[in-house]
């Protein structure tokens, strides 16, 4: 990473989200929950999702500790998920993972801001932590049904 890449990694939107993460409130009676930790960083994500009658995500809660990338990625994910079905959430997660692994995957704005993290491979797992938590939650939810 060259000197001026720092802004490329920490885009304004990332810094903004990491400073003011959305959806921090814990949701009561969620339809879906999951917890995941990246123990090597000490990062942790707690996720709750509530669905409406048509199966669309109406409310999301996301708490935890983490670095700027973990925080921003989670906050942006929560924003993006609202109004989506679990199937659509799945697709978005897959697309996001594809982008982070360098496949040529256009991902909707503002999530695409996280593409800069690819230049620092060791931080990719920070960007993926919330998404993996989401995957866990969806899998658990489907099994239960």
């Amino acid at each position: 990473m060259a000197l001026d890449d720092l802004d490329e990694l920490y885009r304004d939107s990332i810094l903004e989200h990491s400073r003011n993460p959305r959806h921090r409130e814990q949701i009561e009676d969620p339809d879906l929950t999951a917890v995941r930790a990246n123990r090597f960083c000490g990062d942790e994500v707690h996720l709750q999702i509530a669905l409406d009658d048509s199966g669309r995500i109406v409310r999301i809660g996301l708490q935890g500790v983490g670095c700027a990338i973990t925080q921003a990625s989670g906050s942006m994910m929560a924003d993006a998920l609202r109004g989506k079905t679990l199937g659509e959430a799945d697709e978005l997660s897959e697309a996001f993972r594809g982008m982070m692994q360098g496949r040529d995957n256009p991902v909707e704005s503002p999530l695409d801001a996280l593409a800069g993290v690819r230049q620092v491979p060791i931080r990719i797992k920070c960007a993926l932590l919330s998404w993996s938590t989401l995957d866990d939650g969806i899998k658990k939810h489907r099994k239960r049904k």
Partner: protein
């Protein structure tokens, strides 16, 4: 060995500019700027003489050791045994036979856990350690305690990062079978009073292991002075190659130990049904040893001794004092470990609530500064400190105050960058 230390009086300073020329990697750039390598507690860099010793071996006399009657095999055997004698002299072991080659500190501690403790620790016994141990000096004892029905007890860590010894008389007791303690903490820098602790342990008849992973590379360590039974350390942290470390074991204790690994080279006689073990120390070295890297560790010790361990320690105290002072300027940053540079090694862990340690690591890397971030393999201690992760700068013979300045400036930049509205 004692002689060479005395020859270089401790007021002599290290000629760091000259030393730096011996380390090819230090002229490399990272992200377009000069490398500032402050991750020495994780692993050290290597001088040309150590790298050259590997080249000389592979280009000149590479061969398997022991029992070969041909010239190369004799040369390789002699060189490896000479390296063993150097390691023995370096920690003042009573004999080269008391040095067992291992891959690293972790393996050395496991050799003791499996080969000594599993035989000699009994139900109801206690293993005493501290609250600041590296996982490598904790997890093996959890396993021994569980399997043998023994109890693990901890000397707690005081608020200033030193050991809290107020309860030591009740913690080290007649029930203590083993005291195992880190001499220099990799997470706090704390230097523990291993000699005093060993004396207490011996007074109650306990065996003593010292984790020297951080101390042996950075200060004079003398097993006979400490009066310990075991000392574990890693070559890669003391200018040596990766893949080689050593366990010192007192001769009489070594004779009570079972080998952890069995197979070729460590046996004397084998039938289809049974085997008898070889002499010391071969009994503990199964299979082809890491010949080249053992020789490389010998070359590393030559380099360290030419500088003098007292001089190295003095240099690091200076750097640590300078760094502790510099970090005082940064109000948002907490620095861990004892405030007195004489009471600690050249390890400076720091943390700011406003920037996560990994973000610190990434920003510093842009400035060429290599520090370690995370839990430093001491998760229980981190929990005690109440932080998930710290950044850690750690020094060695080639570091300078100018590099500390680069570190502190880069940390200031990180704080600015992540503070609200900085951009």
């Amino acid at each position: 060995m004692t002689v060479s230390r005395e020859q270089a009086p401790s007021k002599h300073r290290l000629d760091v500019a000259r030393i730096r020329k011996d380390f090819p990697i230090l002229s490399r750039k990272v992200n377009g700027v000069p490398l500032v390598y402050l991750d020495n507690a994780a692993t050290s860099q290597k001088p040309r003489s150590v790298i050259q010793s590997l080249v000389d071996y592979y280009e000149g006399y590479n061969s398997n050791v022991h029992r070969g009657v041909h010239t190369l095999s004799m040369e390789a055997t002699n060189a490896m045994e000479e390296a063993r004698a150097k390691v023995a002299a370096f920690v003042n072991a009573e004999s080269p036979d008391c040095i067992i080659w291992t891959r690293n500190t972790t393996e050395a501690i496991n050799v003791v856990a499996k080969g000594w403790a599993m035989q000699h620790v009994k139900a109801g016994d206690e293993i005493v350690t501290t609250g600041m141990e590296h996982h490598s000096n904790l997890v093996p004892w959890q396993q021994v305690a569980r399997e043998r029905g023994a109890k693990l007890r901890f000397l707690p860590v005081a608020a200033d990062g030193s050991l809290d010894l107020s309860e030591v008389d009740s913690i080290i007791s007649a029930r203590t079978r083993l005291l195992t303690v880190v001499q220099m903490s990799n997470s706090l820098g704390t230097i523990n009073p291993v000699k005093e602790l060993a004396a207490r342990a011996r007074a109650v008849g306990a065996t003593v292991l010292v984790d020297g992973a951080q101390s042996v590379p950075h200060m004079p360590v003398d097993v006979q002075d400490i009066d310990c039974d075991f000392l574990a350390f890693s070559g890669h942290k003391m200018l040596g190659p990766t893949g080689i470390g050593a366990l010192y074991a007192r001769h009489e204790v070594l004779e009570q130990m079972e080998p952890m690994l069995v197979g070729g080279e460590m046996v004397l006689e084998v039938t289809y049904e049974d085997a008898t073990w070889n002499d010391l120390p071969m009994r503990f070295e199964a299979g082809t040893p890491n010949i080249a890297d053992a020789i490389g560790l010998g070359a590393a010790i030559d380099y360290l001794q030419a500088l003098g361990m007292d001089q190295i320690r003095g240099h690091e105290i200076e750097l640590t004092r300078y760094a502790l002072d510099a970090f005082k300027e940064l109000e948002e940053v907490d620095v861990y470990g004892p405030p007195d540079p004489q009471a600690r090694g050249g390890v400076v862990p720091f943390h700011s609530a406003s920037v996560h340690a990994h973000d610190v690591g990434t920003v510093l890397d842009r400035r060429g500064v290599a520090v370690r971030t995370g839990h430093h393999c001491t998760m229980p201690l981190m929990r005690t400190l109440g932080v998930a992760a710290t950044a850690r700068a750690s020094f060695y013979i080639y570091n300078t105050v100018e590099e500390v300045d680069v570190l502190v400036d880069a940390m200031k930049e990180a704080l600015r960058y992540f503070s609200d509205g900085a951009r």
